[in-house]
Amino acid sequence: MRRRLALQAVAVTSLIVLSFVVPLGILASRQARDRALSVAEREAQSIATAIAVATSFSEPGVTTSTARSVFDAFGRPDDTSIHLADGQIIGIGSPDDPDVAVARGGSAFTAKTNDGAAVLIPILSGGQTAVVRVAVSQAQLSKGVKAAWSVLAGLAIALLGIAVFAADRLGRSVIDPVERLRSAAVALGTGDLATRVEPGGPPEIVEVAHTFNDLAERLGDLLQEEREAAADLSHGLRTPLTALRLQVEGMEGGHIRDGLLDDVSLVENAADRVIFEARTRGSDAPRRTDLAAITQARASFWEPLASDQERSMTTRLDATKLWVSATETDVTTILDTLIENVFAHTDPGTPFAISVTEDGTLTVADGGSGFEATSARRGRSGGGSTGLGLDIVGRIARHNDAHFDIGASSLGGAEVSIAFKLRP
């Protein structure tokens, strides 16, 4: 956007500069031409006057000696010539010059020549006409024009530069607040509810920033209310569950009592899961986590148990730091659940491997008996598992826009992969 604003400034300034610089340049050219011709006219007029005065004191007609004397006194050998009536020329000139012939008719004028221009003035004396011709070269006609154009071009370039700089400064005053707003919106969109934007820039942007902050605040409040509702839910569920458990415990012993106690335990676990998920959804923790660091930390935590159970445990991290879009709590829960599943559902001595690849994929693979692809659905797991752990992992993965996949591992057992979105 800054580039577009700068280009607009260049376009507008260019038009303005052209509308002033071109006429100024043309004017400078004309002034140079007029100045050169004016000098030539004065010179020709001076010579003509001097000859006229000199001949007024002698015999009529312009004599060669008079013309020579005046030429030596006033003329410039390269430019000036005096064409006498008898065809004799003082100075450099052509006897066949048509302009001279015209001037002999009594007209003083400025003629265009191949080399520039010439000022011609007739001198009438004793019924004869001599002509003073002063040539003006093209270089004299355009003397100073190049310098004038250069100054004007430099001025134009400077103006364009100033315009671009000013447009950029002005653009930044608008764009920087918009950019901050955009960054904050992206952060909010990825779950960072603590993000706020510092209002700045034009009044409209300031108003948008305030509205954004109000919206983020409101979102935070709503999630806080949800968390409080979850806490109330925990109390609301656990108190009647306590009453139910105590009632069942008070029954006569037998299959019915034992079955009911098992059912109560299942309900309690389900309630715990609901509460856990409600709290997870309501978390306002930053959704940006170093997957490599957490994986290393959790692998280290579980390593002593793997050692005690004589399991080969390998951890492969393709990057030392790998920022993904997920909360630290969620990544930790996923890792602990997956590793715990390995310990719970494979025999001691069974190897397992944890890996993190540069594309943000976390994989936990084991050399156990594996499981069917339906394991992620609650209550449909093989291997004696309820599948609840994988169900939670799948839900947390989806909540973080991560892709959850299960299958067979190269170690011969199960493999669970979570492909997180990168968030550098």
Binding site: H235, T239, T242, A243, L246, Q247, E249, G250, E340
Partner: protein, 227 residues
């Protein structure tokens, strides 16, 4: 037998606990509101108070603070909130112990017994010495052969619980209930990994155990290897 004051607003829970604990020989006084319970706690001086937090007239935490302001009667708080911050604030407010709902009568009675046992014999429970292992419960410190052990909170709780019953096999279910306060949930792997860390810090392993012995299919026990 102990005299126990139950302050619980839920009638079914109140009645069931009253009946079950009375059947086990305890003297029970049950009250449904905070002010009623506060009055009885101060006047009757029971051996222990079981205090529910969700009371109709006043928040249970406020009742706890009022009791603690004028009495040293042991208080076990019954709470539906399992967040660590809640538990820490309750203990800071003066609770001696806590149970998380839903709980069973067995679980509640076990906690009452443990609390009264600690109060009856504070000196015995403060520092436990097992061979080269010394566990100071009140200071939450442990050392092995004179070297201080760097234990996490759960590792210390686990060690202290096992040390309280030296030589006795304790089931993982009990450890989940007593140390993790998850009587009906939790995972054996959670205990296993903490035991592994504990073994490592005690300088032993599952293959070459010294203090910590796993009894397969039953549980785990702490023994004195020098005995």
């Amino acid at each position: 037998m102990a005299s126990i004051l139950i302050i619980e607003d839920d009638q079914r829970i109140r009645e069931r606990i009253t009946r079950a604990l009375a059947e086990r020989g305890h003297a029970i006084d049950a009250r449904r509101s905070g002010f009623e319970g506060l009055s009885v706690a101060l006047e009757e001086q029971p051996d222990v108070v079981v205090l529910d937090l969700g009371l109709p007239d006043i928040d249970g935490t406020e009742v706890l603070k009022m009791i603690r302001a004028v009495s040293n009667v042991p208080v076990i708080v019954a709470t539906a909130r399992s967040e660590e911050s809640t538990i820490v604030s309750l203990l800071d407010a003066g609770a001696d112990d806590y149970v998380i709902k839903p709980y069973s009568v067995d679980h509640l009675e076990a906690r009452i017994r443990a609390l009264l046992r600690r109060l009856d014999d504070p000196a015995a429970s403060a520092v436990i010495t097992i061979g080269g292992l010394v566990i100071d419960r009140s200071g939450r410190e442990a050392s092995l052969d004179g070297m201080e052990l760097d234990l996490s909170r759960k590792e210390f709780d686990l060690l202290a619980h096992l040390a309280g019953r030296i030589g006795e096999v304790i089931s993982k279910r009990e450890l989940l209930a007593e140390v993790w306060r998850e009587p009906y949930g939790g995972s054996d792997s959670t205990i296993d990994v903490h035991l592994s860390w504990l073994r490592r810090k005690l300088g032993e392993s599952a293959a070459e155990p010294r203090y910590l012995r796993t009894v397969r299919g039953v549980g785990v026990k702490l023994i004195d290897p020098t005995a």
